[in-house]
Amino acid sequence: MSPWLRKPKYAALQRREMPGGLWAKCPRCKNLIYQKELERNLQVCPKCGYHHRLSATDRIAVTLDPGSFVEFDAGLTSVDPLGFTDYPEKLEEARRRTGRAEAAFTGMGALDGFRTIVAALDFFFMGGSMGSVVGEKVARAAERALEQRLPLIIFSASGGARMQEGALSLMQLAKTSAAVARLHAERLPYISVMCDPTTGGVTASFAFLGDVILAEPGALIGFAGRRVIEQTIGRRLPEDFQTAEFCREHGLIDMIVPRDQLRPQLSRLLRFFGAPRVALEEPA
């Protein structure tokens, strides 16, 4: 086992509502799995290969070189611009449950020695929904990549635009896509990794705008919701509709990468696109 698989000290993997915290039940194969084994296996079921959802902190922890991550914009928090029913309460609850300020976790780190800007969305924080803060953090991450001429990797996991901020959330699609456009114009690499689930406004903006688009096995990826589509077309949809596999078959994404292959694959891409090595980047 390569050293990066070991649990980094700076961001311990969280235990989520598992019975007794010792055993976890796989939602797909229903087998009980020893929690420690699941953690060692990057939260992938050793029996059936089901990829459990990762929090943004876990995602950074299992992806980057241990100790390399420096967070950006930790002080950005959401307000309630519309005075929307229960929004402040929902935010408070999400903060309490996740211990995070918002659904986006952004910063700079190293991946296999390559320096890179990284953003990860947290589905456990209000469904990873994108309001002003998520949009702002993603846009700032892209702008930092531009300033420092570094690659950008975004791990998406989101139900889409955050309803509670109305059209301001919708405008985050424009803000983030415009920021990504500047990376493309400046020939800086942007790699999009779609995790379970990546839907709605996040797919209709930065998630589908990567130079290369990766997805985790079985991830739900799509624009409109299954139920809305079924109501519209008056038919039931097949089981595999809007999965990563479905998307690859239809030419929408480049590849499906199992979690334990993600780091080597990203490393290969970063090398190919000429990402700088950490050692070369250190100030004299």
Binding site: G75, T85, A167, A185, G200, G201
Partner: protein, 291 residues
């Protein structure tokens, strides 16, 4: 606060913003969706002289839900796009209720790229409930098509003027809605999710759409306050359908004025302004970063 940083030219003074409506947001939703309301194609056919429709995305097929073409606005060659919402069931069935498939957005982009080639401005008239939620739309990359349009419009090297004339339905509207000036008819709406969908998710009760319409702040006045749209175009008493000619004239006047304002701005400056305009959108609090 207006979102648009462009100067107002001396030749035109914007009309005073219409007084806040006595109508409720839900009533405004009804007006925006009124069957008799002039649709995007009506504005296009009346405002664009010598309009020539262009067809097809060159990839899959021609999407009848989206109208695109070239023509003249006053003395200016322009490219025009707009969803094709019908006025009756027959028209609606023929044009898929103005809900484009990916090929519709790709056709729009193709025509915008054509405008870019010649430096002609793009006029976009928006009236769509949503991007079409269909299985084939997903297979052909609805999200990718929308994302691509949004990104390309943010850097399109030619002026883009947007008028939301009826329903501005979420990503499906934004895919035609990134521009240097975004204008909105008095009783149009622009929203991240239809009030019905919002009510269904929040309260599992579609009948509470009226409350959702208020919560979403989807009227032109709300959106002006949020810095999302630049100008409200006044409608005739009772709504655009009561006097379509007057509504068309008001749109013509506003578009003429904004076109004048963008025409002489060097394109690099215009693109910087466009970027900054969207870059500023959003509301957040920032304390000194911990990390």
């Amino acid at each position: 606060m207006a979102a648009n940083p462009l100067p107002t030219p001396d030749s035109g003074v914007p009309p005073p913003r219409p007084a806040a409506p006595r109508l409720s947001p839900w009533e405004i939703v009804q007006l925006a969706r009124h069957p008799q309301r002039p649709k995007a194609p009506d504005f296009i056919f009346h405002l664009v002289r010598d309009f020539t429709e262009l067809h097809g995305d060159r990839l899959f097929r021609d999407d009848p839900a989206l109208l695109a073409g070239i023509g003249w606005f006053e003395d200016q060659p322009v490219a025009v796009i707009g969803p094709y919402k019908g006025r009756d069931t027959k028209e609606n069935l023929a044009h898929n209720f103005g809900m484009p498939n990916p090929e519709g957005y790709r056709k729009a982009l193709r025509v915008m790229k054509l405008a870019e080639k010649y430096g002609y401005p793009v006029l976009s008239f928006i009236d769509t409930p949503a991007a079409f939620p269909g299985d084939e739309a997903e297979e052909r990359g609805q999200a990718q098509a929308i994302a691509q349009n949004i990104m390309e419009m943010s850097t399109l090297h030619t002026p883009i003027l947007v008028v939301i004339t009826g329903e501005g339905g979420s990503g499906g509207a934004l895919a035609m809605g990134v521009g240097d000036a975004v204008l909105m008819l008095q009783y149009a709406i622009y929203t991240v999710i239809p009030p019905e969908g919002c009510a269904a998710i929040l309260w599992r009760d579609v009948s509470r759409a009226k409350e959702a319409a208020e919560a979403l702040r989807l009227t032109a006045w709300d959106l002006t306050g949020l810095g999302i749209i630049d100008e409200i175009i006044p409608e005739p008493e009772g709504g655009a359908h009561q006097d379509p000619d007057a509504a068309t004239a008001a749109v013509r006047e506003a578009l003429g004025r904004h076109l004048q304002a963008v025409k002489d701005v060097p394109i690099d400056r215009l693109l910087d302004l466009r970027y900054e305009k969207y870059r500023r959108m959003g509301r957040q609090m920032e304390s000194l970063a911990r990390g």
